[in-house]
Structure formats: C-alpha cells, structure tokens
Amino acid sequence: MIRKKRFSVAFVFTTCILVALTLALGGCGNSGAGKTYKIGVILSLSGPSAPLGQSEQRSIQLLEKDLQKGDGINGGKVQFIIEDDESDPAKANVAVNKLIDQEGVAAIIGCSSTGSTLAIAPTVKKKQIPCVAMAAGTAVTQPTEKWLFSVAPSDVLVVQRVLMYFRDEAKVKNVAILHDSNAYGTGGADVFNAQAPKYGVKVVADESYGSADTDMTAQLTKITQTPAQAILVWGTNPGPASIAKNIQQLNIKIPFVASSGIANQKFIELAGSAANGVVFAASRLILPSTIPAGSDWEKAVNDFSSEYKAAYNISIDTFAAHGWDAGNMVVNAMKKAGTESTDICDRIEQVKDYPGVDGVFTYSPTNHAGLKVNALIMVKIVNGQWTQDKPSGGSSK
C-alpha cells in the first residue's frame, strides 16, 4: 500500500515536471514530451480501390502536416505510418501485423475497403489495438466489435434512409429490389429485406444481375408484372447505368431509387438522359448546401475543404472526408488517452456530437458506426444535376 502510494506521488511529481517543461519549451514538440505517437494507416493506394485510398492518404498527410506545425499530440511527435494493401484483403492482414508487431503502433486507421477491414478485424481484436475504418460495409460495425470503429456511413444507415424515403416522402408500399450479385449488392438487399417490415414496406420482387451484365430488360419486365411502385437498385457502376437505360428503353414509369453506389458523376455520364429522375441516398457532403447552415458541421466542412483545396488544388470528396475524420478521431482520442490502447478505445466510445466532415459523430460502447441517418439525404438527378429531392424528410438536426 505504502509503496504504491509513494509511487503515485512520485508519478504525479514527474508528470508535473514534464508538463512544466513542455509548457516552458512552448511549441517545440519534438523535445518536450519526447514521445512519438505512432499511428498505423492501411489504405488501398493501388488496385481497384485506389481512388478511395489516394483521397484518404491526402487527408492523412494534411493532418500530419497540421500536427507538425502545431503542437503535435500534447507536444509529442505524431508519426503516421502508411501501408498500401493494393486493394487486397490478404495484404491488408500482412500490413496490420507489420504495423503492430514491428512498428508498435498504438492505433490503426483503415482500411479503405470493407473486405480489407474485415480481414484485419481478427488481428486488431486479438492484439487489442483500436482501429478506425473508412469502410461502409454492414459487417464492419454490426455486430459491434470492441476494437473496431468506422467513420463511413454504413449500408444499414443508407437502407434506413431509403426506407424513410419510401415511407414518409414517396409514400411507396411495394418495392422491387434489383441488386448486383456481388457482396455490396447482396449485402444491401439483405439488410433492406430485414428492415423493410419495420417501415411498412413490402418487397414484392428480389432480382439480381451480374456485375458485368449489360442488359437487365428480362429482370425489369418481370418486375413490371408485380405490383411494385418503385424499383430499388443496389450496385455500383456500370450496372445501375445499364438499368437506367433499360428502364428508358422499356418505358417503365415507376421511380428508380438507388443506393449511394451511384453517388458519383460517372453514373450521370454513363446513363446520359436516362439518369434524369433517378433518386438516391447519399451523404449531405455531395450537396454541401444541404448541411445545416451555421452548424459546427458546416464549419468543419468549410475549414477542411478550403485547407484541402489550398494544399492539393482539388475539391474534397467523401473519401477525403473519411480520411480526415478517421485521422482526427484517433488523434483526438490520443490527446486524452496517450498510447494506452484500452484508453483510446474508451475515449472514442465517449465521443458525443463531434462535428466531423462526414457528419456529426456519436459513438458508444454499443454503437461503433458513429454517424446518424440525418447525415444522409435523398438526391434527385434533374437535367444531369444533383438536387435535393423535394418532399424533404427535414430530419436535419
């Protein structure tokens, strides 16, 4: 007992001296605390997911520069060690072991894709290293895994937003699903099938297509023979663009609603005039005017986008936002918790109403997904332009 007490007195004393020294030395972070905070980053910098990883990398590097210019983490130096998983889950797993065992990182940021994130999940769990992912797959945050967080709006959130749209805005009861047969499409369709009854929506057809298919008229004619009032398409380019063209060709009049898989200009380019009238769920970030004016969120977006633009001379995208938010989530937790992994985890779970760029984050021990459904809006394509779909849910703030 006595020994322990003496120890803690000594500890407090040393800390005081350290703090005093740090303060005395001012902004000179390197020498003061003398500590280096190592954060491992796993991104897809090459391979099919490279566009995601490269945007995320720019944000991480920007954050690192900011921290170097400023105070670092409590005066300590911050080092982001970036590894490329080449869009390959197996390589992500090699990278995570290297970062933890050889570099001794206190936390991991990554990965860019759901596949890679799920591949490193068992490792971060076993080695008890907190990991903040930038992947939207449902399985990343459901069920909640103690060491695994995500800053991306999960597919569950997108499904909920679409269902709210059907129930409250479009007043649609019967929906036909047409999804890609890959992991993204089937995952989305599964969540939708599971959640639909809660919103009083009935799935009257559940059709799929291959990622490389170019003609979905057979599935569509089948859907027109059901009482479907809307077609929900869950996939990424180019499938939904082919569907849009087929719908135009067959002169189908019921609305085309889609997931955030088409929240990119490429869809409009590929589908051409067939894109008009398509409604999809997406982050408010793609239409910055829909972010509540005067909110802390708006300020976070404006600050980040002007800094990003100044550094790289390109506009931000959702992946840059993911990188920035994930980086800040870890750095902010470390400012309070140091390098103790359990403490970092606890600190992230205590985050409440934190205004990031992707939205306003609130984590808890049972919710590691962070964002809420009001981070998303329904976007309608009108004359090849994104506009907010009118009978708005008004769910902001």
């Binding site: 099919p48 490279a50 566009p51 047969s181 559940d206 059709e207 799929s208 297509y209 291959g210 490389a212 170019t214 003609d215 979905m216 008229t217 057979a218 599935q219 004619t221 089948k222 023979q225 380019n237 180019p238 663009a241 082919s242 063209k245 135009q248 060709q249 067959l250 002169n251 490429k266 380019e269 590929l270 051409g272 005039s273 067939a274």
Partner: protein, 321 residues
C-alpha cells in the same frame, strides 16, 4: 459421314429452336414479355457471336484458343474513347484508327509471344494467351484507369417499339455488323486461296508447308484478322455495354462459351452459339430467379460438351489416317 451427320445436325438445331420457342410462347401469354426477352437476347447474343467469331478465326487456323480475344474488344472500345470521345476525331476515322492500332497490337503480340512457341504444344500457347490477356488488362488499367467510359450510340438512343417490345437502335448496328463479319470471314476462309491455305496449315503443318503454305505466316494472318475483328466488335458494342479495362474478361468468357456451343472453328456455329446463349440467358433471367442466370448458361455449356462435344454446328473431327 455426310448425310447422316447433316441430318443429325439439322435435328439438333431445330430442336434447340423449338425448345426456345415453346418456352417463350408459354411465357409470352402475358403481354409481349417473351418477345422482349427474345429481342434483348438477340442483342446480347450477337455481341457474344462477334467475340465467338474471333475465337473461331484463331482456332480454325492454329488450333489455339486465344483467351486474349476479349481484350482485343476491350482495347478497341477504349481506344475509340480516347481518339473520338476525348480527342474529338470524327467517329469513322476514330473507328478505323482504333481498329488499325489493335490490329498492329495483335500482329505484334503474335510475333513477340506466340511465334517463338511454334515448336511447343498447343496447350503452352493457350497458357501464353492467358498471360497476354492479363498483360493487356493491366496495361489498359494503367492507361485509362478503372472507371467505365461512355461512347455515344451511332444513331441515337431513341428506342424503336414494335409488337409491344422495344429495342435500341445500336442493336441494329450490332446485328448488321455481325452479318457482314460472318459473311466476310466465311468467304475469306472458304473461298479464297489464302484462307484455304491457312486452314490447311492448321490441319497439317508439314503437308501444308510442302505445298508452299507457311504455318508461321498463317498464324500471323489469323491473329491479325482476329484482332481486327475483336477491335471492331468492341467498338460497335461499346455504346451498349460501356467500355472499361475489365470488360474483356466477361466478353471472353461468354464468347468462348458461345464458340464452344456453336462448334469451335465454325463461323455459322459461332453466330448460332452466340444467339442461342444470349436468348437462353434472357429467358432464364426472366423465368428463374435471376441470380441463377449465369449458372444456367454454364450448365448448358457442360451439357453440350458432354453430349455433343463438337458443338451445335461443328463437324466432328474424326482424324482419319
């Protein structure tokens, strides 16, 4: 041989057509759904047919299955995008330039990668073609990135409607091109001296070279023709399927299936195989849960290989000595 074989072939084709019609008619009771499926199936099928012909050109000349055939079409589409869509060159010049470039690439690859293997077994050459496919795909990804690109339809997007079904104008370009291509290729290989020589070289290298037909030249010619055919097919179908660095995989697989279905080496067979595969796929997607669509296509392929390995229109190759 001869008559009995022909009769069996006719029987098979007619029964295939009959089955397709029966399935369709029973299902077309509700409005014109069945007719729509056939139209869509024929469009997709003629795309497969065009790729299948490329397979047949190289197979009938060298007995090699060229798994890089789909990549020629991919290259055609992507070059067309760079030259005409991005570069602003008039489409018909863009078409000619793209085909020319891919043809040179095809001929070049034959000289660099295939010709040195002339003493090797056919299997070795086939494995090299798989390597070529991976190489071309990686090259395309490096040049154009991973995003699919759009090439405008040749004559607008306004769908034509008849009998309650609809079809996009580009489909007619694909149909027309398929007909022209099959006629030209058929005439070349069956009516011209060079074409006959190439086929002779495939049957017996040594005998052909004794009468002055070089198997080396015929292999080069076959690859040149297949590359030109693949590239122009890739451009004609690009407005329907979007060009992207990875479309060659699907085109190659389906084209190969169609070629085997129709009979490897037979040009009318390639067309028949493609059309049958396309229509069957559409009907399957319409009738059974659409997730099983591709499975059905491949089950048919396996059945054909088991029951009639020479394909619907292929001649059985009893090598007689």
């Amino acid at each position: 041989m001869g008559r009995a074989d022909d009769r069996q072939r006719i029987l098979l084709i007619s029964s295939a057509i009959f089955i397709v019609l029966v399935i369709t008619l029973t299902l077309s009771l509700k409005r014109s759904t069945g007719f729509q499926w056939i139209l869509s199936g024929l469009t997709v099928g003629s795309i497969y047919a065009l790729i299948a012909m490329g397979f047949s050109v190289i197979y009938s000349s060298t007995r090699v299955i060229n798994f890089a055939q789909g990549e020629f079409s991919m290259l055609g589409g992507m070059l067309m995008y760079s030259i005409s869509v991005k570069g602003g060159v008039p489409p018909w010049i863009g078409f000619i330039l793209s085909v020319l470039i891919v043809t040179l690439v095809g001929a070049g690859l034959e000289r660099v990668a295939i010709h040195p293997l002339k003493e090797q077994s056919v299997i070795a050459v086939i494995i090299v073609t798989i390597g070529l496919a991976i190489f071309l795909r990686a090259l395309a990804k490096w040049i154009w990135g991973t995003d699919p690109v759009k090439i405008a339809s040749f004559s607008g997007d306004k769908p034509l409607r008849f009998l309650g079904a609809s079809i996009v104008p580009q489909s007619f370009w694909v149909f027309g091109f398929t007909v022209i291509a099959v006629v030209l290729v058929f005439i070349f290989f069956n009516r011209t001296l060079v074409g006959k020589g190439i086929r002779a070289a495939a049957m017996n290298k040594d005998a052909a070279s004794l009468v002055g037909v070089s198997s080396s030249t015929s292999s080069l010619l076959a690859w040149t023709i297949a590359a030109a055919l693949g590239a122009s097919a890739g451009i004609v179908i690009a407005p329907i399927n979007f060009a992207a660095y990875n479309v060659g995989i699907m085109l190659g697989l389906k084209g190969f299936t169609a070629a085997v279905l129709g009979g490897l080496g037979s040009f009318p067979g390639a067309v028949a195989g493609g059309l049958v595969l396309g229509v069957l796929e559409m009907i399957t997607a319409g009738v059974v849960p659409s997730g099983y669509k591709d499975a059905v296509a491949f089950v048919i392929l396996i059945l054909v290989l088991l029951i009639r390995p020479q394909g619907l229109l292929g001649k059985s190759e009893d090598v007689k000595v």
